[in-house]
C-alpha cells in the first residue's frame, strides 16, 4: 500500500515538474501569471519526491519483498542501517535520490531566491523543472523502483557486501548533491541566455550555488576514495578508474566555473566563457551519470546492465546539452563584452587557472572515453591507466598549483607582480625549508618527492601569506591590531585561504603515499614475525567467527615499534552466504602521518596465510586536505555577502574586496 502511494506520488511529481517547466518557459511570454507557477510547483515537487523516497526507504526498512527492487537488493538478515542505505545502493533507488536532490535544489532556489528578479527565478525554476521531468520520465519508464513482484519471495538476494559500509552509505548522496547542484548553474546559464542578460548580479547569484555543489562533490569524491582505500584491500586511494574519472571531470570544470564566476562578478568580463563552463560542467555531470549508470563501464557502480537505460540517459544528455549549446550559439554573440585586460592581473591569473583546469579535464576526458570510442570503432580493447595520467594530468596540474598562491595576491586590472612575488617571499622560504627537510628525511625515494612536498608547503604557506599580508602582520601592525583586522576580514578571504591550503595538504598526502609506500607480501604461518618499515609485526593466529550476515576468518597481528607494543590489528576475510561472496576487511592503524595497513589473504594450504602489509606515509592527509577544502568552501558560503538579500546590500559594500 505504502509502495503504491510512493509510486502514485512519483507520477504526480512528474505532472508537477511538467507544470514547473512549461509554465515559465512556454507560458510566460503570453501571461506573466504562468511564471508565478514555478515557485509553488518547485515546493510541491520537493514534498512529493520526499514522500516517494521515504516510501521506498520504508519498503527497504520492513523488507517488503513484494517489491522487485527490494528483493534484488536487500535481505532480511542485513543490519537495519544497511537496509536503509540499501534504498539508494542500487540503480532505481539512486536515480530516485537523484531526482529528489534535484527537487531539493529547486525548492531551495524557490525558498532562498526571494531577491532574484521574478523573470529570472521563474526561468531558472523552469529549466530545473524540465531536467526534473526528463529524469522522472526516465525513472518511471525505464527504472521504476516501485515495480511489484508476484509471488513475493521469502527473502531477497542481498546487497553487494562491499557496499555494506558506512562511508559508502553516504557517498552517493553527497556525490549526487554535487552533480545535481551543478544543474543550478546550468539552469542559471540557460535562463540568462533566454533573458539575454548576464551581469555581475547574475554571477553573484550563481556563485553560492556552484560553491555549495562543489563542496558536496568534493566530499562525495573524498568519501568514495576513502572507501576504496580501506574496503578494496589494495591500499590505494585513487585508481584512475573510469568511474572515478567520471566524478573528477565535473569537479575540475566546476572548480574552473567557481573561479571564472568571480571575474564576472567583480569585473563583468568572461561572461560567455562562464556560461559555457556552466553548461559543460553540468554536461560532464550527466556524462558521469551516463557512464556509471549505463553499464558501458564495468565497476561496482554498474548495477543492472540495461542498454536501454544508457540510451535514454544519452538522449537526455543530448537534449539538454545540445539545446543549451544551440541557445548559446544564437544568444551569446549578443551579450555585451567588456574590454580585454592586462596579461598580468588577477583576471588574467584566473583565466590561466581556467585554461589549465580545462586542459586537465580534457586529458582526463580523453583517457576515460578513448577506450570506449576505440571499442566502438574497431572492437579493440584497451585500458588506459595511471601511466597515461601521470604523463598528462600531472604536468598540467603542477604549473597550476605553483601559480595558485599568486592568484589572490594579484590586484584586479593591473597587478604588481614584483610586489606579489615579494609578499610570497616568506612562503617561498618556508617551502624551501620543507624541501630541505623532506630531502634529509628521505632515504631512497624518488628525487621528485621532496619537490612535491615543497609544492604542498608552498600552497599552504602561500594561502596564509595572503591573510598575513592583508592584516599587515609584521608590517607595522601589532599582533593585537593584526588579530583585530583578521577578525574583520571577509569570510570569503578565509574561505579562499583554507581551500587553497587544503589543496596543499592533499598534495603532501598524495606525494607521501605515492613516493614512500613500503609494501610487504609474504606467506606466513601463525607465530611468524616480519618487518614493514619501522614496524615489527607478529602474526598471532586466525580464528573464525559468525557475524550478523557473514562468516569471517579474523587474523590477529601484534604490532611493535622500537620494541614497544603499540597495537593489535585484526584484518578479516569475510564470506557473505547470501551472495556467496568473499570480501577483505583491511585493518588500519593510523598515526595521522602514516597508516599501517594489514590485509589477510588466502590460506596457502600448508597452514600458512598470505599476508599483505603496507606502510602508507601521509595518506590520511589526502582526505584531511579534502575536508579542509570543503570547510573553506563552507566558510566562504557563510560570507555575509552571499546571504539572502545580499546582492542589494553588497553593492553598497566596499568595492574591490577580493573573494
Amino acid at each position: 500500500m505504502i509502495a503504491e502511494f510512493g509510486h502514485f506520488v512519483l507520477v504526480l511529481a512528474l505532472g508537477v515538474a511538467l507544470v514547473q517547466a512549461f509554465g515559465p518557459l512556454l507560458g510566460m511570454p503570453f501571461n506573466a501569471a504562468f511564471g508565478r507557477l514555478a515557485v509553488p510547483a518547485a515546493r510541491v515537487q520537493f514534498v512529493l519526491l520526499s514522500v516517494s523516497f521515504l516510501a521506498l526507504v520504508y519498503a527497504f526498512a520492513v523488507s517488503d519483498f513484494s517489491l522487485s527492487l527490494v528483493t534484488a537488493n536487500s535481505h532480511s538478515a542485513k543490519p537495519l542501517i544497511y537496509k536503509l542505505t540499501g534504498a539508494w545502493g542500487n540503480h532505481e533507488g539512486s536515480m530516485l535520490l537523484w531526482t529528489l536532490i534535484l527537487a531539493t535544489f529547486g525548492a531551495a532556489v524557490a525558498f532562498f531566491g526571494g531577491n532574484l528578479p521574478d523573470g529570472l527565478r521563474a526561468r531558472v525554476l523552469g529549466v530545473q523543472g524540465l531536467i526534473g521531468a526528463a529524469f522522472l520520465m526516465f525513472l518511471l519508464f525505464t527504472s521504476n523502483p516501485f515495480l511489484r513482484l508476484d509471488p513475493a519471495p521469502f527473502d531477497g538476494n542481498g546487497l553487494n557486501p562491499i557496499l555494506q559500509d558506512p562511508a559508502l552509505a553516504f557517498h552517493p548522496p553527497f556525490l549526487y548533491a554535487g552533480y545535481v547542484g551543478f544543474s543550478i548553474a546550468f539552469s542559471f546559464a540557460v535562463a540568462a541566455l533566454l533573458e539575454g542578460k548576464v551581469d555581475p548580479a547574475w554571477a553573484r547569484w550563481v556563485r553560492p550555488w556552484t560553491l555549495a555543489a562543489w563542496c558536496c562533490l568534493t566530499l562525495g569524491i573524498a568519501m568514495g576514495s576513502w572507501w576504496a582505500y580501506y574496503e578494496l584491500g589494495w591500499g590505494g586511494w585513487w585508481f584512475w578508474d573510469p568511474v572515478e574519472n567520471a566524478s573528477l571531470m565535473p569537479w575540475l570544470l566546476g572548480t574552473a566555473l567557481l573561479h571564472s564566476a568571480i571575474v564576472v562578478e567583480k569585473r563583468g568580463a568572461l561572461k560567455r566563457w562562464t556560461l559555457l563552463l556552466a553548461i559543460f560542467t553540468f554536461a560532464l555531470s550527466l556524462i558521469g551519470t551516463f557512464l556509471v549508470r549505463s553499464g558501458v563501464l564495468t565497476s561496482v557502480h554498474a548495477f543492472a546492465v540495461d542498454p536501454a537505460r544508457g540510451v535514454v540517459i544519452l538522449g537526455i544528455l543530448v537534449f539538454f546539452v545540445g539545446g543549451a549549446l544551440t541557445l548559446y550559439a544564437i544568444r551569446a554573440p549578443a551579450l555585451k563584452v567588456e574590454g580585454l585586460f592586462a596579461p598580468l592581473s588577477r583576471e588574467a591569473a584566473l583565466i590561466v587557472n581556467n585554461l589549465l583546469l580545462t586542459a586537465a579535464t580534457v586529458a582526463v576526458f580523453v583517457g576515460t572515453l578513448y577506450p570506449l570510442a576505440l571499442d566502438a570503432v574497431d572492437g579493440s580493447k584497451i585500458s588506459v591507466g595511471a601511466p597515461f595520467y601521470n604523463l598528462t594530468f600531472v604536468p598540467i596540474v603542477i604549473p597550476l598549483l605553483l601559480l595558485v598562491p599568486f592568484g589572490p595576491m594579484l590586484g584586479w586590472k593591473r597587478a604588481d607582480v614584483l610586489g606579489a612575488t615579494q609578499r610570497l617571499g616568506v612562503a617561498a622560504a618556508i617551502s624551501t625549508i620543507g624541501l630541505a627537510a623532506a630531502w634529509m628525511w628521505q632515504n631512497d625515494g624518488p628525487w621528485g618527492a621532496p619537490f612535491g612536498i615543497a609544492l604542498g608547503v608552498w600552497l599552504i604557506a602561500g594561502a596564509f601569506s595572503e591573510i598575513g599580508y592583508r592584516v599587515r602582520l609584521f608590517r607595522g601592525a601589532t599582533v593585537a591590531e593584526a588579530f583585530g583586522k583578521a577578525r574583520r576580514l571577509p569570510r570569503s578571504a578565509w574561505g579562499t585561504a583554507m581551500a587553497h591550503a587544503g589543496v596543499g595538504v592533499m598534495v603532501i598526502g598524495i606525494v607521501g603515499i605515492t613516493s614512500w609506500r613500503v609494501e610487504v607480501i609474504e606467506a606466513l604461518a601463525p607465530g611468524a614475525t616480519f618487518d614493514v618499515g619501522s614496524y615489527a609485526i607478529t602474526f598471532q593466529n586466525v580464528e573464525s567467527y559468525q557475524g550478523p550476515n557473514f562468516r569471517a576468518d579474523r587474523g590477529s597481528f601484534l604490532v611493535e615499534r622500537n620494541g614497544k607494543e603499540i597495537a593489535t590489528l585484526t584484518p578479516e576475510k569475510r564470506v557473505y552466504p547470501v551472495s556467496e561472496m568473499p570480501t577483505t576487511e583491511a585493518a588500519i592503524y593510523t598515526i595521522w602521518v602514516a597508516d599501517l595497513y594489514v590485509v589477510l589473504g588466502d590460506p596457502t594450504g600448508t597452514g600458512a596465510w598470505t599476508v599483505r602489509a603496507y606502510v602508507n606515509p601521509l595518506v590520511p592527509w589526502v582526505w584531511i586536505g579534502a575536508v579542509i577544502m570543503v570547510l573553506g568552501g563552507m566558510i566562504s558560503l557563510s560570507d555575509r555577502r552571499y546571504r539572502v538579500g545580499a546582492p542589494v546590500r553588497a553593492r553598497n559594500a566596499k568595492p574591490g574586496v577580493p573573494a
Binding site: A72, N160, L232, G233, W234, G236, F239, D241, T298, S299, V300, H301, A302, F303, A304, V305, D306, L340, F341, A342, P343, A348, I351, V352, L355, L356, A359, V362, A363, V366, G367, Y370, S380, K381, I382, S383, V384, G385, P387, F388, L391, T392, I396, I521, E522, A523, K573, S579, E580, M581, P582, T583, T584, V599, G601, D602, T604, G605, T610, R612
Partner: protein
C-alpha cells in the same frame, strides 16, 4: 600595451596551454595504453614477447598451483587456446577456478604470461566484459545469451 598586443598575449597563452595539453595527451596515448588479448588472439596475431598487455579468460579447473611464499601459477583459457600465468602476490577475493579473470603483465615465450596485477571483481556472477566478448567471438560463450534478463547478468565488479 595596446589592445592588439593584449589580445595576442591572451590568445597566445591559451593556444600554448591547449597545444601543450594536446601534445601531452597524444604522446601519452601512443605509449601508455594497454591492449587486451584473449589466448586465441595471442596465437592468431603472433604478438611479440615482452609486450605489456592485459589478458583474460576463464581460470582452468584444477590448474592453480601454489609455489613458495605467495607465488601462484594458473592457466587461463578461452576454450581454443590456453595461456599459463604466473603471479606473485595476493589474488583477489573472487579469484576462482572456472571463473573469468583479467590479468595485466608481460607476455613470455610459449604462451606463458607473467602477471603483476590480477584484477579484482566484486560479484560471483561477474564476467569481465572483455572475456565475455572474447568467448563470444570464438563461439565458446556458454553463459546466458544476450537476451538474458538483466537480473541474472547483474554485472558488478570494480577494477582497482
Amino acid at each position: 600595451m595596446t589592445r592588439k598586443q593584449r589580445r595576442a598575449t591572451m590568445i597566445g597563452t591559451s593556444l600554448g596551454i591547449l597545444g601543450l595539453a594536446v601534445g601531452l595527451v597524444l604522446y601519452a596515448l601512443s605509449d601508455n595504453i594497454v591492449f587486451f588479448y584473449s589466448p586465441a588472439d595471442l596465437v592468431e596475431q603472433n604478438v611479440e614477447e615482452g609486450t605489456r598487455m592485459r589478458i583474460g579468460g576463464l581460470v582452468v579447473e584444477d590448474s592453480i598451483e601454489r609455489g613458495e611464499g605467495t607465488f601462484v601459477r594458473f592457466a587461463v583459457t578461452d576454450f581454443s587456446e590456453t595461456l599459463f600465468v604466473t603471479y606473485d602476490g595476493i589474488l583477489p577475493d573472487l579469484f576462482r577456478e572456472g571463473q573469468g579473470v583479467v590479468a595485466e603483465g608481460v607476455l613470455q615465450a610459449d604462451l606463458k604470461f607473467s602477471a603483476d596485477t590480477v584484477l579484482a571483481k566484486h560479484d560471483e556472477n561477474y564476467m569481465p566484459p572483455e572475456v565475455a566478448d572474447a568467448l563470444k567471438r570464438n563461439g565458446n560463450w556458454q553463459g546466458e545469451g544476450a537476451e538474458a534478463p538483466h537480473r541474472e547478468t547483474y554485472g558488478q565488479g570494480a577494477y582497482p
